[in-house]
């Protein structure tokens, strides 16, 4: 039986249950997605986009899937402090495995501005049908990735954020994805974020894993940024070695919008981050960045595709990897500039440090340019810490391990500088430091947190 078959059968048997536990647009898109998935299957290493990550075999083990939307008996709010960025607003939402948790609210949460909707996507699909129908599946529609079809086939719920025209969110929203279960668990979750014209918002989208089980998360997040709107998206991962985290972000940028995506992978098992951004209007700006600090047998694969369909837009892309142990890093970045997208400016940079003999780095910084009046540069490097710099620090009395650590901090600093929320920046810096000091264990269980491990 192929890997796909068990899921095809599962859907056939439970299509009704899945529909019953979901709503509106999610159900409308399901059947077509299932047919696409049945045809395409999961991507394999033969696909150019998945050369270095065998995602199909990640789906092979026998995971539990919560098709019946059974309650997980946890109240995440009881330990919200562990996942909330210290000092930051307490407007925090939880998705437990793949279910939006709405039995309780964070006590004394900061009020939402008028018209802002933050809730379960399932609920929104029913109660704000027009908004969800207008956007759901639209940003991901050109994806050829079978795991996206898989998500659309099985997703019942997730997070929904809507910021109406001109409304500026006064604080960042935190969305915490919590993997917790008493069996091996596959979570299929779907988020939809709509930032209307002239609105502003920031979202911290973090994922943590509790318990001693294998987890596989397959999340799709669609983001629409309207004309002149501003949006920042921080994806933070602090999970464990038996976590497989497959994340897809699809983003549509309208005229004059300004977006930032920063993916911070600090502790993980196998992570695949897909980001696809489409410029749909002129003069928009995208900052796309991320870092991965890997050791042990961690595997972090980032695949970004930025399509400049319209002229006058800017992309600044920067990804950095620090690889130790037997870890593997992969970076594939494509920037496409269409024929009509004159005056595009795009810079793509991927820099990597290998600290150990067995670490592996694969990088593919690709440019596809069909317009002539553009400035497009890319650069990629794989190397080590600079010995002259280490020596310079040592000559000032700094011991070698400290010198190396300082240089590693310096190496990832420019990605940290792209964290525009000071509280988050501090929290990440602290975690990075603990990671470099070897204080975060990949085998650590049940104490996942944003501020640090228990140690």
């Amino acid at each position: 039986m192929s890997v796909e078959e068990q899921y095809i059968n599962l859907y056939k048997q439970h299509a009704d249950t899945i529909e019953k536990n979901s709503a509106g647009a999610l159900n409308d898109a399901r059947k077509a997605a299932f047919e696409r998935f049945s045809k395409r299957g999961f991507p394999t290493k033969k696909d150019e986009e998945y050369l270095y990550t065998d995602i199909a075999s990640s789906f092979a083990p026998d995971y539990g899937m919560n098709i019946n939307a059974v309650d997980f008996n946890v109240n995440p709010y009881s330990s919200a402090h562990k996942y909330s960025v210290p000092g930051l607003s307490n407007r925090i939402y939880f998705v437990v495995n793949d279910q939006f948790y709405d039995k309780e609210q964070q006590p004394k949460a900061a009020p939402l501005p008028d018209g802002v909707i933050a809730c379960s996507l399932k609920k929104a699909a029913a109660e704000h049908k027009d908004i969800v129908d207008k956007h759901y599946g639209k940003a991901a529609k050109d994806s050829k990735d079978g795991s996206v079809d898989f998500n659309t086939t099985f997703a019942e719920d997730g997070f929904f954020l809507y910021v109406p025209k001109g409304v500026k969110m006064p604080y960042p929203i935190q969305l915490v994805n919590l993997m917790t279960s008493s069996i091996d668990q596959l979570a299929t979750c779907r988020n939809l974020i709509v930032i209307e014209d002239g609105a502003e918002a920031k979202l911290i989208d973090s994922i943590f894993a509790q318990n001693d089980h294998k987890f596989l998360a397959n999340r799709v997040t669609e983001i629409f940024v309207g004309k002149g709107a501003k949006y920042e998206h921080y994806k933070v991962e602090n999970t464990r070695s038996d976590m497989t985290n497959l994340s897809h972000i699809f983003m549509e940028l309208d005229e004059n919008s300004d977006a930032l995506v920063n993916e911070l992978t600090l502790q993980n098992g196998l992570t695949r981050n897909n980001v696809e951004v489409n410029f749909r209007g002129k003069n928009a700006n995208l900052d796309l960045c991320g870092m991965a600090i890997c050791d042990g047998e961690q595997h972090t694969d980032t695949d970004t595709l930025v399509n400049h369909w319209e002229g006058g837009c800017t992309t600044n892309e920067l990804y950095k990897y620090v690889l130790d142990g037997k870890s593997t890093g992969c970076f594939s970045g494509t920037i496409m500039v269409a024929q009509d997208a004159q005056k595009t400016k795009a810079i793509q940079t991927n820099k990597n440090i290998c600290l150990s003999k067995e670490a592996r780095m694969y990088t593919r910084p690709h440019l596809e340019i069909y317009a002539d009046d553009v400035i497009c540069n890319h650069g990629a490097t794989v190397g080590q810490l600079n010995n002259d710099e280490i020596f310079y620090l040592r000559s000032r009395g700094i011991p070698e391990p400290v010198a190396k650590m300082l240089l590693m901090f310096a190496f990832v600093n420019d990605v940290e500088e792209k964290i525009m929320i000071p509280e988050l920046k501090d929290a990440i810096r602290m975690m990075v430091e603990r990671k470099f000091r070897g204080e975060i264990e990949s085998t650590c269980k049940g104490c996942a947190s944003i501020s640090a491990c228990h140690s």
Partner: protein, 484 residues
């Protein structure tokens, strides 16, 4: 030298288009179109080959049958009917002309017209030429002079007869028969090509050169070049190609294998000017070439290419840096215009310790052409202290063409330092106006700026080739300035 060089560049250029598009009317010996085991036996028989070579061919053919044409992203390779192609065509002449008197005067005229001197009195002093038309080697010059140094320079057919042990030892050792679709095809049906052997410690006293010419209609050209540079030897090898302008596509699938032994150095330069098709994209040569060299300890292999011709170019001259301290280099200028597609780059495979590689690629696209750099740098776990630097620049002339960069870096060693940089740009309005203000016309300004842009690569070519290459760039880009 720089000034002298420049003088030639500034020579006024006639408004010429592809000037090698003529055909030669000459009696040709064909094998009928189509490919099967019998065709291969026939080719082998015509060439009077030993059994081991026939077996080599048949084995390759059987592998090829199971393979598919590569389908890569951003490269539009048309399906070809391999049964409609003739796999052997030879200008009829007495076997192995001993002197020039025995060479058909039409052939001499052809090469003369192409500017390839194979008559002794016209020969370049510092160059030996192997002239190949369609499937066979027509004439190799300067053989005797080279023989005095112990250097073997002859057609590969001759080498099979006269130096079977050398050929048997090295043929297919760097590019195995089943390496890829086109390599397998070539291994099955290759007709001729050049063979070079430089003995231990010998510096080849002159440039060696092959000149390839497709003439016959509907005929594939499948040449095979094998170069063996023994320990501490040196050779610089040049290759040039042209074909007549025909409305039909012409297939060219070649293999170049180079073995660079300990402390030896090989420079391989190509000026590829196959017929690119007409302005509407009709006709032209499909150029599918596998070029690879194996470097032993302290060896150095340097590829330099100027690619201006062919409707489709598919080639990735590569270096397998097996020996410790070996060095691989790749310098490339690829110019595409009208409907041409160029997909070219290199592979640098670092296996030995302290190996170095340098990649410099300059793509220039005009018209409705697509120009891609596709390259791989791999550092294996054993290759301690490997270093690579790659610079891949693209220049766009006009807004209907594409310039793409597809590097792959696979790093399996923590002592490696690998750097890749790429830029895409166009000629700035400011640069054009500056030239205009000094009285320089748009066409001349474009050709000046493009030549300047490609200079780093052109400078790596031997003198005679450099000038030719610069002229080619200018011709390839005639009348593109109005677009830009």
């Amino acid at each position: 030298m720089a000034e002298n060089n420049d003088d030639k560049i500034i020579e006024e250029l006639a408004n010429e288009e592809y000037k090698y598009g003529f055909t030669t009317d000459i009696d040709t010996d064909y094998i009928p179109a189509g490919l099967n085991e019998d065709t291969i036996r026939l080719i082998s028989e015509k060439k009077g080959e030993p059994d081991w070579l026939l077996e080599f061919r048949l084995k390759a053919y059987n592998q090829w049958k199971k393979m598919e044409m590569p389908h890569w992203p951003h490269l539009d390779l048309p399906e070809l009917d391999y049964q409609a192609i003739k796999y052997y065509a030879a200008p009829k002449q007495k076997k192995g002309p001993e002197s020039l008197d025995e060479v058909d005067p039409e052939l001499l005229k052809t090469f003369d017209k192409l500017g390839i001197p194979i008559e002794e009195q016209k020969m370049h002093v510092g160059m030996a030429v192997d002239a190949i038309m369609d499937s066979v080697s027509v004439k190799t010059t300067n053989k005797e002079k080279l023989a005095a140094e112990g250097i073997i320079f002859c057609s590969i057919s001759e080498a099979v007869k006269n130096y079977p042990d050398l050929v048997k030892k090295y043929l297919g050792s760097v590019v195995p028969a089943g390496d890829n679709f086109f390599a397998a095809l070539n291994s099955a049906v290759f007709s001729d090509g050049s063979f070079v052997y430089i003995p231990k410690g010998v510096r080849c006293p002159m440039e060696l050169s092959s000149y390839f010419r497709i003439n016959a209609i509907n005929t594939g050209q499948f040449e095979r070049t094998l170069i063996v540079a023994d320990d501490e030897s040196y050779v610089s090898y040049l290759e040039g190609c042209t074909a007549p302008a025909r409305d039909e596509y012409q297939l060219h699938a070649a293999i170049v294998e180079i073995i660079v032994n300990d402390r030896a150095e090989v420079k391989y330069s190509t000026v590829q000017n196959w017929y690119p098709g007409d302005k509407q994209g009709k006709g032209g040569v499909y150029n599918f070439v596998t070029k690879r060299g194996l470097c032993k300890d302290d060896a150095k292999l340097s590829w330099t290419q100027v690619e201006t011709g062919s409707a489709i170019t598919w080639k990735y001259p590569s270096c397998v840096l097996k020996g410790d301290n070996s060095v691989g280099e790749f310098y490339s200028v690829a110019v595409t215009n009208n409907y041409q597609q160029a997909d070219t780059g290199t592979k640098m495979i670092h296996l030995g310790k302290n190996t170095r590689s340098h990649i410099c690629s300059k793509g220039i696209s005009a018209g409705r052409s697509q120009n891609s750099y596709r390259g791989l740098v791999r550092v294996s776990p054993e290759a301690d202290n490997a270093r690579n630097f790659s610079q891949c620049d693209s220049l766009l002339l006009g807004d209907k063409c594409g310039a793409h960069t597809f590097p792959y870096m696979d790093i399996h060693n923590d002592t490696a330092v690998v750097e890749h940089e790429a830029t895409t740009s166009k000629i700035s309005d400011e640069q054009m106006f500056y030239c205009n203000q000094r009285g320089i016309s748009n066409n001349n300004a474009v050709s000046l700026i493009v030549n300047g842009y490609a200079k780093e690569v052109l400078n790596k070519l031997p003198m005679e080739f450099a000038v030719e290459a610069q002229r080619l760039l200018e011709i390839s880009l005639e009348n593109t300035s109005s677009v830009g």
